[in-house]
């Protein structure tokens, strides 16, 4: 009941906003409806915490013997923190959006934010892969319509195809994974995923996250400064992260070499994305890399046999990232607020991300672990850089925005702190303390060097002063070429053109004058085949 109430609190205001905007537009009333709906829903999630784990069956496809399916939700300690985080982000987006004079915020956007968050919750709360596949498909279609509507007048609609294409593939990989898992348990839910299917599930999630294979379909699209775009960007990511967190820990048992290959790809993706994150001009430009890097962290945690702990990196992606990306305009005076967001990323003992280190580093010290620590340091470094470079001194903020803007950011920080206390049992842990220590050490060393050499990562002086800059630049460029996947697209285009030529030739032959004779020939072949195959023991 509470669950349905939460969904109602998101969707009913969304409908109300759309209607009120069409009939009698009123900015203040709309804002109040939106904020009230989202806040109540957010508060409602804390009631859910009292009943965890809980299950709600929405629709059962009957007869059971035929479908083996129910569209059902399960809320447990894995997805509950995500639910809280998504709702916090939704509120924060509505609170901060009004301060962005550079963007055109309308009540319709808030309605979209509420609706999208509701849909997102459905996929996050899915009890099994089928519910999730259905939720993914619906969310993707809604997002597609929304994006098309957004971009309709900008003439950039073409980019949407690539974005939707990746989503479509990931949905079908999820369906394929379910089909494989179905062979072991009909109507399986997330607690019954067999190791045989787990790799496919991992790939489905990896695709959606843009990690496996590394792809940035969104690299040049939608990276605008609107809050709703942040929700659009995070929306496919959250459910994929939940899927990863639900994978069985025996993933390593299966096909060791394949797991190793995936692990290498994941580490490379993390390295590349975090290096790119560190070196972008601003946080907005680096957003896709932030997402990919932390998604790779989550994947690596699953590959190390601790998928459940991948949630801390997922939460860091959403919450810490959320604070930074919503810190726009980057007002110098309040930059201490996003700095607090680092609590969710650093992983120092007894903070939210502390339990993530053991999952990320695996057992013992390994090369992958070392690389991951470096990646973590680069992420932290980049985060600090974007905040410390904040120079804006906006004076024209509306009165209410002076309160709502920082309030939105503080709400996210608060969410982090609350989750740090009640997110899941044993959330307060020391974790692998030296992981964060080394990472912070690296950041400090980097900061020291930067200060000492008076370097600016994006400035020209950096090239001259930084040792091995040219080599690093070359490596990064080479990686960028490789990971852009343009070469794969070029090969695919070439193959497609050749295949089209061959098909064209056959079409000419089969649809030409002698087509019927060809059909008769095929008929004869079929008859022979059937005659020789059918009836044989």
């Amino acid at each position: 009941m509470i669950l349905l109430g939460i969904l109602g609190l998101l969707w009913l205001p969304a409908i109300a906003l759309t209607i009120s905007q069409a009939v009698k537009p009123n900015f203040a009333r709309s804002w109040f409806i939106a904020i009230a709906g989202a806040s109540l829903a957010w508060l409602g999630t804390f009631f859910l915490r009292l009943y965890l784990p809980m299950e709600v069956e929405l629709i059962r496809w009957l007869p059971e013997s035929l479908y083996h399916t129910a569209i059902a939700f399960r809320i447990d300690y894995i997805n509950w923190p995500y639910i809280v985080a998504i709702l916090a982000l939704c509120i924060a987006v509505i609170l901060t959006d009004s301060s962005r004079t550079s963007t055109n915020t309308t009540p319709t956007t808030w309605a979209a934010a509420l609706a999208l968050t509701g849909l997102n919750l459905i996929s996050v709360m899915s009890r099994g892969p089928l519910t999730m596949a259905i939720a993914w498909a619906i969310t993707d279609l809604v997002e597609l319509s929304f994006m098309l509507n957004l971009l309709r007048n900008s003439g950039e609609t073409g980019k949407v195809t690539a974005i939707y294409g990746v989503r479509l593939i990931s949905t079908f990989v999820l369906v394929a994974a379910t089909a494989v898992g179905w062979q072991v348990t009909a109507g399986l839910d997330f607690t019954q995923i067999p190791p045989t299917a787990s790799l496919l599930f991992l790939i489905a999630a990896g695709l959606r996250l843009g990690v496996l294979p590394l792809n940035f379909p969104m690299q040049n699209a939608l990276e605008s400064r609107r809050g709703i775009d942040l929700l659009l960007r995070f929306s496919p990511v959250v459910s994929a992260l939940v899927l990863i967190a639900h994978l069985p820990s025996e993933i390593l048992v299966l096909n060791q070499s394949l797991v190793s290959v995936i692990s290498i790809l994941t580490v490379l993706a993390a390295l590349y994305a975090s290096a790119m994150w560190l070196t972008r001009a601003d946080a907005n430009e680096g957003r896709p890399y932030w997402i990919v890097a932390l998604s790779a962290f989550a994947l690596q945690s699953a590959l190390n046999g601790e998928p459940e702990h991948s949630r801390v990196w997922g939460l860091a992606l959403l919450l810490t990232g959320g604070v930074l990306f919503l810190f726009d305009p980057p007002i110098r005076r309040i930059r201490f607020i996003p700095l607090l967001g680092l609590i969710g990323l650093l992983g120092i003992p007894y903070t939210l991300a502390a339990s993530g280190w053991s999952a990320l580093l695996g057992e013992g010290v390994s090369l992958a672990g070392i690389v991951m620590i470096i990646c973590h340091a680069m992420l932290v470094g980049g985060y600090l850089r974007y905040i410390l470079e904040a120079e804006s001194t906006v004076t024209g903020l509306e009165k209410y925005a002076r309160i709502t803007y920082p309030l939105g950011l503080i709400l996210i920080i608060q969410t982090m702190l609350v989750l740090n206390l009640v997110g899941w049992p044993d959330v307060l842990t020391i974790g692998v303390w030296w992981g964060s220590l080394v990472s912070i050490g690296l950041v400090l060393a980097g900061a020291f060097l930067t200060k000492k050499l008076n370097l600016q990562l994006t400035g020209d002086g950096f090239k001259a002063k930084f040792p091995f800059y040219r080599l690093g630049h070359q490596v990064l460029n080479a990686l960028r070429v490789v990971f852009s996947l343009d070469w794969i697209y070029a090969i695919a285009r070439w193959l497609f053109a050749r295949l089209s030529d061959i098909a064209g030739f056959f079409r000419q032959v089969l649809e030409g004058e002698a087509g019927v004779l060809w059909s008769l020939f095929f008929l004869l072949m079929m008859a022979i085949l059937i005659y020789t195959q059918v009836g044989q023991p």
């Binding site: 629709i59 059962r60 496809w61 009957l62 007869p63 035929l66 479908y67 569209i71 089928l130 596949a133 259905i134 939720a135 993914w136 498909a137 619906i138 279609l141 319509s145 098309l148 309709r152 003439g155 609609t157 073409g158 949407v160 195809t161 939707y164 294409g165 479509l168 593939i169 949905t171 079908f172 369906v175 394929a176 379910t178 089909a179 494989v180 179905w182 062979q183 497609f496 295949l499 089209s500 098909a503 089969l510 649809e511 087509g515 019927v516 060809w518 059909s519 008769l520 095929f522 008929l523 079929m526 008859a527 059937i530 005659y531 195959q533 059918v534 009836g535 044989q536 023991p537």
Partner: protein, 478 residues
């Protein structure tokens, strides 16, 4: 002669109405309304008719016979068979009512009703071999609709006629052989020959790969509305007819290798359809490949009958029809609004800016046929994919490739629809607001319906499981 029979209501009555429609065919609206009313009434009555055929109306009892005898041959529509009849008349109704605004042939209402009645009779006739000639008659009648107005008959329609006619001897000869087989069950050569003849006959009828070459040729020249109707009826009826044949003849269904052969034919047809669709640049031609893919899935479902394929087939009938309806409706509507659009990719470039709802509807209908979760065909597709994966590992990659091919086409089409030409040569693509509220509502309704069917299959699709009830030998549990 007893006229209180089910064939009188569902075969002779509509044929009589089609004769009446010939007289009024010039009054297009009137004939459409008559065809719609008759089809809907027949569909509803078939759906609610008591299974024991004992109808109580206004306090009086009418006991209907399920058999109509002509010259010692029978037309039999049992109470359990009425679900199929209802479905066929429902399709006829949908295509007549929704097609009212398109300038298809004046004969469409007449011929659609006749075709439906003939398909019902093909499924009802005993012995089954007579169906071969009825199917041939349907083909001959369909040709009139399939030939475009004001143009000469294309090679596609001729090839259709030729290959469907070639199927006739195979079915008739198999029917003759069946008599011998029934009396001599151990005659294995005879059984093998009979099986080969039946399977070849059905392969030609259903146009499975590689006997499908006429399908795209025909689709390119024919109005999508007519094409989708004719081949939806043919596909649905023939699938059920194949089930009937398998149910009737134990020697056929017990023959080793029959079902695996069907599975392979189905998988290869789906694969060919998917791969060939990915290479297309004309949306009209793609309709043919959609039909091919669906045929493949139907054959695969029958091949997997003991693994739940029958249920998958029954569950796919309505959503498939709705997806065809949506695709053909959208395409016809686009070509009605903008006659200069010939269905080729260059002519569709940037259409989204001009007809956004039509563009999205086109994509959604294709996604539904792809089997996207949450859309109409997903529940049935999922059953087949799961059954296929459970049976052998060979099918999964092939079906995966087929889905990938189809998905590639959808993405290519999407890219074409969304990408605006930077230097538009055609001023027609710059217009806006050409979609009327009614058109938008209809298109949204189709999408919503597809979503509802996909999310609540147990509500919308379970009644169609009743189609399997007559096949008690093939599906003992149904």
């Amino acid at each position: 002669m007893n006229l209180m029979t089910t064939p009188t209501i569902w075969i002779f009555l509509p044929v009589l109405f089609s004769l009446l429609l010939i007289l009024v065919h010039r009054l297009h609206k009137l004939s459409v309304w008559i065809a719609c009313t008759v089809s809907l009434l027949l569909a509803v009555v078939a759906m609610i008719f008591p299974q024991n055929l004992d109808l109580t109306l206004f306090g009086r009892n009418f006991l209907f016979d399920d058999t109509f005898l002509i010259l010692n041959r029978a037309l039999i529509i049992t109470g359990t068979g009425l679900k199929t009849v209802a479905m066929l008349y429902l399709f006829s109704f949908l295509w007549n009512i929704a097609g009212m605004r398109f300038s298809v042939s004046r004969w469409f209402p007449t011929i659609s009703l006749t075709i439906t009645a003939l398909w019902v009779s093909a499924l009802a006739v005993e012995p089954f071999l007579y169906a071969a000639l009825i199917v041939e008659l349907i083909v001959l009648i369909s040709v009139v609709l399939l030939t475009p107005r004001g143009e000469q008959a294309g090679s596609g329609v001729m090839r259709y006629l030729v290959l469907q006619t070639i199927a006739l001897p195979f079915i008739l000869l198999s029917g003759w052989m069946v008599t011998g087989i029934e009396s001599a069950p151990s005659a294995s050569t005879l059984i093998l020959r009979g099986a080969v003849l039946i399977l070849i006959g059905f392969s030609l009828w259903l146009a499975v790969f590689p006997l499908h070459t006429w399908l795209p040729m025909l689709a390119e020249k024919t109005h999508p509305w007519v094409f989708s109707f004719v081949f939806l009826m043919q596909q649905s009826s023939l699938s059920i007819f194949l089930l009937k044949v398998l149910d009737q003849f134990a020697w056929l269904r017990n023959l080793t290798g029959v079902f695996p052969a069907m599975q392979w034919v189905g998988v290869l047809t789906v694969l060919a359809g998917g791969v060939l669709a990915s290479l297309q640049t004309k949306v009209n031609r793609v309709l043919a490949y959609l039909i091919l893919i669906e045929t493949g899935y139907s054959v695969l479902a029958i091949g997997l009958i003991s693994q739940g394929g029958g249920e998958a087939l029954a569950l796919s009938l309505l959503p498939r029809a709705l997806a065809y309806l949506q695709y053909a409706y959208t395409l016809s509507s686009i070509q009605q609004i903008a006659p200069e659009i010939d269905g080729s990719f260059p002519s569709l470039r940037g259409l989204f800016t001009r007809l956004p709802f039509h563009s999205i509807s086109l994509i959604v209908s294709l996604l539904s046929l792809l089997g996207l979760p949450a859309l109409g065909l997903f529940p049935a597709r999922r059953m087949l994919w799961n059954s296929g994966a459970g049976l052998t590992s060979h099918y999964t990659p092939l079906l995966g490739l087929a889905v990938a091919g189809m998905a590639l086409f959808i993405l290519r089409l999407m890219d074409t629809l969304l990408t605006t030409d930077p230097n538009p040569t055609s001023p027609t693509l710059s217009g806006k607001g050409e979609e009327s509220i009614w058109q938008i509502l209809v298109l949204c309704f189709f999408t919503l319906l597809s979503l509802l069917v996909g999310v609540f299959p147990h509500v919308f699709l379970n009644p169609f499981l009743g189609i399997l009830e007559p096949f008690i030998h093939l599906l003992p549990s149904s």
